[in-house]
Amino acid sequence: MTANDGGPPLSGVRVLDFGHVLAAPFCTRLLADLGADVVRVESSRHPDFPWPSSYRHTDGRHASYLNTNRNKRSVAIDLKHPAGRDIARRLATAADVVVENFSAGVMSRLGLGYETLRESNPGLIFASMSGYGNSGPRRNWTSMNMNLQGCAGLMQVTGAQGDPPTAISNSWNDYIGGLHTGYAVIAALTERERTGKGLHLDMGQFECSVSMIAPLLMFSAVKQRNPDRMGNRSDRFAPQGVYRCAGQDEWCAVSVRDHVQWRALARVMEEGAADAPLASDARFAGVSGRMRHHDEIDERIEAWTGGLESADVEARLGQAGVPAARMRRVQELVEDGTPSGAYKRMAEPRVGSMLTTALPMEFSGSALPAATPAPGLGQHTREVVREWLDLSESGWAELDDEGALV
């Protein structure tokens, strides 16, 4: 194993990206970060959904677009125009991978379905990632991230018993669907080198998200009941929770995994107190007792944390060897910098520079490409069409005259 002397893992792989909003563009960003040549098919006639955003550049690109579509190129093709569909078909013939997240049937209606494209490109890997997949009773259902958070079980396994359905304020399902599909595409590319055969990956974002709770689905299948919702607690040790600290919306997570940590917690909490009943209370001596009396212990912990800054709680417990972490917010991740470097700065001509998400993977033998800014609409039409279709200047001029490259 030598250090980073190889090119990016997916160099030489051509990806044609028909994605919109987030799930498919997130998937193709992953492929681009790993070195694939990702070309987005876009059109001024049918722009990507106007995603509500606090920032929109004069060219129509919004903040999330800039982060999700870096490292890609853009061709502008009107797919409603017959000549446009023909160019898209020819690009797909030159591609290794097509990724799309239209509703079921849309690509086929455009004459760009897998069955059509495979005739001229039998090695094509065609990944569909609609909400529920292209078959089954819900194939025509339309869905967004929040629909899938509800439908795939996330909301009902998060939170404590009796809580209303509880969501996460991010695009969880787009990430989960995008990662699963990215994995499936890479695995299929590797297999294709042996078999020469392409395939249609009809991924359903719903199924990807259901896999995230599939162990609990298996529990319910056998027990014919739902598992208990655990909130912040553990079924193996106690106490564990997120405790309110002094100030507005300040919290500290504490996780006591064994007896030594329990005694350490009690010692820290009772420092300077007139009486020190927690450590000596026989009811709390064993883990089963602490689980039985979890509510009472939580109240006692919160009575202590409520008077302290969250950073103070974290520091005191950390010194005593008790796992504790204050709740960090996005502004702290950004301003303090993440120790891991989850985000990095990228040149972005529209704004000078911006923070963008790093790929959370390290390879000892493959260099990853440096991030380049998200493309303007149609910025690379000419270069990609000429390059992928191997066109001469006059061939390009002919295509451009048809009025479909907009």
């Binding site: 194993m1 339309t142 509800g150 993977m361």
Partner: protein
């Protein structure tokens, strides 16, 4: 290709995904069962390493070899296994020289956090999960490990792609803390561009105004709609709420963002009169992204999962005929997934494949190295 799986929850899901693509995945189990097997809840009545729900899902499609890596003989078997492998996925550091072990090997280190809740708090994700103004909450089902596992599967697959193309092996590192922080990216982008702080919103969406889980007669349903031209008017044709209809300015993005709580509160009052299926089906008929809110028990009978073959039925010797989640990738690849192996189920078989004679196999099994 052959993959050795020595992963905790994230590593085990990465290796399961490799099995879903048809690779031969050998799970290295500790002699008494490891932490994955001991992760609850349990399908039976006891906290038994053969009955863990996580073991049953994460180890399906794999073979199990139980090895005592502390015994010299067990370690030698492990090294012999490594020499036959294309990739190793591990969540534990192992005392070995990867370069010397085998040329052309992908070695994936998955750095998993021992304290799930603390890792979640540090990552920033805790501040985005839970009820508004209420206590922030961990995502259920240890799902953040599985989400990390997909990242590890992507990284391993990318390195296997290089291996197949060039014969070059390499070391891959995926850290759970890094992965979790990247899932905050949307809030990061909003904050860095405009200073907007993304908050917990219970079960309401953050991006679009019309978005959230709402109570109905028999549970909850979700509606979530990006505002496009004409959609507000169509939504009003369906909801027919006089207070919302009285304010035509609500058709604009800005007004919707400003008044999203008012909008959703009015929609909530309306949706209470319908059952889940009534309102979801009508919503879909009108092309509004709507869906039921499902529990894990609901999902065991989900018509979409059954029709697509994500859920199959398996005869389990212990639990009878049960719905079995084949997996998102296995389904699309038509890959059969064997139920999770019992501890050391494939010891003799794998030793034979490695070329150990019958006498050597007997000795390894009797001394407890295997």
């Amino acid at each position: 290709m052959r993959i050795l799986d020595f992963g905790h929850l994230a590593g085990a899901y990465a290796a399961r995904l490799l099995a879903e693509s048809g690779h031969d995945v050998v799970r290295i189990d500790a002699p008494g069962g490891d932490a994955v097997r001991r992760t609850g809840p349990f399908l039976g009545d006891a906290a038994d390493p053969e009955q863990g729900a996580f073991h049953h899902f994460l180890n399906a499609g794999k073979r199990s070899v139980s090895l005592d890596l502390k015994s010299p003989a067990g370690w030698q078997v492990f090294l012999a296994l490594v020499r036959t492998a294309d990739a190793v996925v591990t969540s534990r550091p192992l005392p070995m020289d990867h370069d010397a072990a085998k040329t052309g090997l992908v070695w994936t280190d998955v750095e998993e956090e021992a304290d799930e809740l603390c890792a979640y708090a540090r990552s920033g994700l805790l501040s985005l999960t839970g009820q508004r103004d209420g206590r922030p909450t961990l995502l259920g089902g240890h799902m953040i490990y599985l989400a990390t596992g997909i990242q590890a599967a992507v990284a391993t697959a990318a390195a296997l792609h290089v291996l197949q193309g060039t014969g070059q092996g390499q070391r891959v590192r995926v850290s759970m803390q890094d992965c979790l922080e990247t899932f905050v990216e949307q809030a990061m982008v909003e904050y860095t561009f405009s200073g907007t702080r993304t908050e917990r919103r219970g079960n309401r969406g953050t991006i679009t105004a019309i978005s959230g889980a709402l109570p109905c007669k028999d549970g909850h349903w979700v509606v979530s709609q990006i505002n496009r031209p004409g959609r507000w008017e169509k939504f009003m044709e369906w909801v027919r709420d006089p207070e919302l209809m009285a304010d035509p300015s609500l058709a604009s993005d800005d007004a919707q963002r400003e008044k999203k709580d008012f909008i959703m509160d009015r929609v909530l009052a309306w949706s209470r009169q319908f059952t889940k299926s009534e309102i979801v089906e009508e919503g879909q008929r009108r092309r509004f992204p709507s869906s039921p809110v499902s529990t894990p028990l609901d999902l065991t009978q989900d018509p979409q999962l059954m029709a697509r073959g994500y859920l199959t039925e398996e005869d389990d010797p212990r639990f009878g005929r049960i719905p079995f989640p084949r997996g998102a990738v296995a389904r699309v690849r038509g890959q059969e997934m064997r139920p999770a192996p019992t501890l050391g189920e494939h010891n003799a078989e794998v030793l034979a494949e490695l070329g150990y004679s019958e006498a050597e196999r007997r000795e390894l099994l009797e001394t407890g190295a295997v």
